[in-house]
């Protein structure tokens, strides 16, 4: 399986994602933002970080970068596109995913472990994961998901909510909502479920010596499902 990680100026989780993809069997290649073509891939990843300094608005400049047209074409042809953290912000900026990511409710950057509930397993990203609740890690200042009522109804009706913040038992209450996201949303799909954007970083949870190992479940499933 081949994957491509796009590097924007200011990306800083590109290496971590490269390490994770390779660990679980992907042949990964790094693609520079100023390129126009993406080598043949089964998966394209937009990594975390502060693309273009996140100036103007998180992900907005990356959403207009040279490489992004190829990402959009790939996604529209059904290719798998995964955006983590800043990558999620970029995907909303391109319009590939609905809604926006606002500044965290308590106005602080948050770096900690969280639990997320898998809301939809009818897709390649979560299909073979047995657990219902995963322990993942977040590190962001703008992860407060928001969309209009119409958009919310549409993403709910279409099963586009991918993961929600919860406690270890799966309770999706306000207490376990770290950033004020609407409906505790931590990640969403597009209608066809080939595009996933989420705030938590599975690539930081791939080793028992790190924050945890549930990220391994995510990547293992991904390589098996493809």
């Amino acid at each position: 399986m081949k994957s491509s990680v796009i590097i924007f100026p200011g990306s800083n989780c590109d290496r971590d994602m490269d390490v994770a993809l390779k660990k679980f069997g992907f042949k990964n290649q790094m693609v520079w933002h100023n390129d126009t073509d993406i080598p043949k891939s089964d998966l394209i990843v937009l990594p975390g970080g502060f693309s273009y300094g996140d100036y103007l608005r998180c992900g907005s400049i990356a959403g207009k970068s040279k490489i992004i047209k190829s990402v959009i074409d790939f996604a529209n042809s059904g290719g798998l596109v995964l955006g983590i953290c800043n990558g999620f912000q970029i995907l909303t900026e391109t319009g590939l995913l609905p809604g926006i990511l606002q500044q965290n409710k308590y106005l602080n950057f948050i770096c900690k472990n969280v639990f997320v509930k898998i809301k939809n397993k009818e897709n390649k990203y979560f299909k073979k994961i047995k657990k219902e609740v995963l322990e993942l890690h977040i590190a962001h200042n703008e992860g407060n998901y928001f969309c209009s009522n119409d958009e919310l109804k549409s993403i709910e009706d279409n099963g586009q909510i991918a993961v929600t913040y919860c406690d270890h038992k799966g309770n999706e209450d306000e207490k376990n909502n770290p950033n004020g996201a609407l409906k505790n949303i931590a990640g969403i799909f597009n209608k066809d479920k080939n595009i996933l954007g989420m705030m938590p970083h599975p690539e930081r949870m791939i080793d028992p010596f790190l924050s945890g190992e549930d990220g391994s479940l995510f990547f293992n499933n991904l390589i098996e499902s493809l």
Partner: protein
């Protein structure tokens, strides 16, 4: 053009006799640009004029040392071909004036010092000191500093793995922000600042030069008064995005062979970077200031030379490599300009619009910079307090513990480090909140531990003992995670060196640091000095911050402080005399602020530490935590809180004052957890090595108990311990 005279020189922070010396050296009156250059190089921050004499005493050698003080950062060997580049630096004055930018650019500056040497930064740490929590400015300063540190480090993508936060009223008018960075480099590919060769192109890369930060270094060499707010324009503005690009571009250029020398533009910007490179190479340098990329219009040579705009580097390249280098900086969208060349004149020559605007022999600025042997007085060891039995009569262990756990200097700091990305780069195996932060050396079995420590109360009570103690505390933190201590970097924060008492504090702390680091083979390889932390005649307590690093050859053997298993034994390694003077207990429960700090016995310190490492290497201990502020009971409580497990303490033997025993801050102690099956083995080993130990208790249940004297649920104390800072910040 402004005409230079003594009055203008004094406005530049120079003393009247220093100005006279400049005129004598030049045999003429300097012009304003030249005066600016002199003032930037001769201020305390750049010239170390008050401290140089004493810094020479520091212990700076050892087989592990690749580069000691004098470069952008220190370098130590961590086996194979790997080396760690590290340094700590202060950004105190700017952070008080503008906390967000001050702290942010402090982090940016120290990271540049590290990647200038060819190392990729792998961890950040910080030591921050604020005034009393009751002081009107404290909350906002703390919020701003934490946001600034996070804002910069998070964006660059380097994890902030450990730190230290202290509160004391002596910092009401002068907070301390000390930032530390560790970088990883191949020991055969280290870059230095010494220029070599004549007619080599001098290259400017990075951000454009603006009017920000002009006279930043002079500001950092002065005491504060009522007009402090007016100094805001001297604070630099950081752009972590550009720094990230600069980092990647520099490392890309460094992979080739075109760099002769490289130096970041930190304090005193283009002035100090160009002069340092030339001075170290015993060369001259010629710069055409017209070619410097500027952000603002009509900048004068004076402004260009003194700007402290961030994210800039100066590089001396091999001839003919300019295009190759330019391509890399173009790729990263960074400015690249050939602004001058090295010469054999041994002068710095500045041109602007085809006119020579300054010419000064480099020697005058570097080696001939003033050096003072300031007067100082030796501190006396304060008299010990004799506490009477009555003073303890009404106290209960549990109440004391609860009060101590919410002392601002003990209470949990999660509110702070949750705002720092501490997991990016995927190698953080011990997060903030433990004995030390630990990161793996990417792709190997090795890991590096790091911590920052200070003990201003001890240093204030007796600077020499305090200096020794901080080094020992740092060493203990390395041992506690199972790392072999390697080396330290020190940030020496003091008051006004022109006052004999403050100067004495500095001299004796340095001597204490030296004695301990020599004995423990824990050399100082880098650091900086920050004097004049004084506002309206009130100086800070002497605060040397020690950043230590240690090596784990197998990261899987790292220790943590969480209690592991019910039924395991807990020992205290090291003798408990019950020293309460200068302790958190004495301050909180006895309202006693005087007395000597705990004695530091270097022989015991080393023996105890080595025996803990020895036990660990034989896989005989499960957990380790050093005993520091708040004594044994505070240490045990933190271990319990982290793991959610309780401890049954054994009754004390003999006529021991339980408050002295449980809250005394004697040095050289560790708490270790031992499985029952290893008990005999551990006891025998400790006895054989003549290491003093007490059997403290058992891991048991979910409470801390001691017969009828103490019964506290871990959940309850955890809540108090965790919430103090969070509640303080929302109020």
């Amino acid at each position: 053009m402004v005409e230079v005279n003594e009055k203008i020189a004094i406005e530049h922070g120079l003393k009247s006799d220093e100005y006279k010396k400049i005129c004598e050296l030049l045999k003429r009156t300097p012009n304003i640009t030249e005066l600016g250059v002199f003032s930037a190089m001769w201020n305390e921050h750049c010239s170390y004029k008050s401290s140089r004499k004493h810094l020479k005493k520091l212990h700076t050698t050892g087989e592990q040392v690749i580069q000691g003080p004098g470069e952008n950062a220190g370098v130590v060997d961590i086996e194979d071909d790997d080396a760690i580049v590290f340094k700590i630096e202060s950004h105190n004055h700017p952070s008080f004036i503008e906390p967000y930018q001050g702290a942010a650019t402090g982090v940016g500056g120290i990271m540049r010092d590290v990647f200038t040497m060819g190392a990729r930064p792998i961890a950040n740490l910080n030591s921050i000191h604020f005034g009393s929590p009751d002081h009107e400015k404290t909350r906002n300063l703390l919020r701003g500093v934490v946001k600034g540190i996070g804002g910069y480090g998070n964006c660059i993508g380097v994890p902030t793995i450990a730190g230290q936060t202290c509160f004391d009223e002596s910092y009401n008018g002068n907070i301390l922000v000390n930032a530390m960075t560790l970088g990883l480099v191949n020991k055969n590919k280290i870059f230095y600042s010494k220029a070599a060769g004549i007619n080599k192109p001098v290259i400017y890369v990075g951000s454009k030069t603006g009017r920000d930060g002009i006279h930043g270094a002079s500001m950092a060499s002065a005491i504060f008064d009522d007009k402090i707010e007016e100094k805001k324009p001297t604070v630099q503005v950081g752009d972590p995005f550009t720094e990230k690009l600069l980092l990647e571009a520099c490392l890309e250029l460094m992979a080739g062979r075109s760099i002769i020398s490289i130096q970041d533009m930190g304090a005193a910007g283009l002035t100090s970077s160009s002069i340092e490179m030339a001075s170290k190479g015993d060369l001259g340098i010629e710069i055409d200031l017209t070619k410097v990329p500027c952000r603002e219009e009509n900048m004068t040579p004076y402004e260009i030379m003194l700007s402290e705009s961030q994210e800039r580097m100066l590089i001396v390249l091999e001839e003919g490599k300019e295009n190759e280098a330019k391509k890399i900086f173009d790729k990263w969208n960074l400015d690249f300009a050939v602004i001058g060349k090295t010469t054999d004149s041994k002068n710095i020559e500045l041109f602007f619009k085809n006119e020579k605007v300054a010419e000064i022999p480099i020697d005058f600025l570097a080696e001939n910079a003033p050096m003072y042997d300031r007067k100082w007085i030796k501190a006396k060891l304060p008299k010990e307090n004799k506490f009477s039995k009555d003073q303890f009569k009404s106290l209960k262990l549990g109440d004391c513990l609860k009060k101590i756990l919410i002392d601002p200097n003990i209470a949990d700091k999660e509110w702070i480090w949750d705002q720092y990305d501490h997991t990016v780069m995927g190698d953080t195996i011990q997060k903030p909140g433990g004995n030390a932060g630990v990161v793996r050396v990417h792709g190997t079995n090795k890991a590096v531990a790091a911590s920052v420590d200070s003990s201003a109360n001890y240093c204030h009570a007796h600077p020499f003992t305090g200096g020794k103690q901080v080094v020992c505390e740092s060493w203990r933190n390395m041992i506690s995670v199972g790392a072999k201590p390697i080396a330290i970097t020190n940030c020496l924060n003091f008051g006004n060196p022109e006052k004999e008492k403050n100067m004495g504090e500095f001299v004796e702390c340095v001597e204490g640091i030296t004695e301990a680091s020599k004995y423990l083979n824990y050399p100082v390889v880098s650091g900086n000095v920050s004097f004049y932390n004084e506002t309206k005649d009130k100086g800070i307590k002497p605060t040397p911050s020690i950043g230590g690093i240690g090596l784990l050859s197998n990261y899987k053997k790292m220790m943590t402080m969480e209690l592991k298993n019910e039924g395991n034994y807990l020992f205290v390694i090291g003798k408990t005399e019950g020293h309460l003077d200068q302790s958190i207990f004495a301050r909180n429960m006895l309202s006693e602020f005087n007395g000597p700090p705990p004695e530091v016995n270097l022989f015991n310190e080393k023996q105890n530490g080595m025996s803990v490492l020895n036990l660990k290497n034989k896989n005989l201990i499960e957990t380790c935590h050093d005993v520091s502020l708040g004594g044994i009971l505070t240490a045990i409580s933190k271990m319990g809180i982290k793991s959610g497990k309780g401890v049954k303490l054994f009754p004390l033997e003999g006529l021991v004052n339980k408050f002295e025993y449980f809250f005394g801050e004697d040095q050289g102690r560790y708490i270790i957890e031992i499985k029952p099956e290893n008990l005999e083995n551990v006891e025998n080993m400790l006895k054989k090595e003549s290491i003093h130990f007490d059997k403290l208790g058992l891991v048991e249940g979910d409470k801390i108990t001691l017969e009828n004297d103490l019964k506290l649920s871990i959940d309850d104390i955890k809540e108090d311990y965790k919430k103090w800072l969070k509640e303080y910040m929302v109020n």
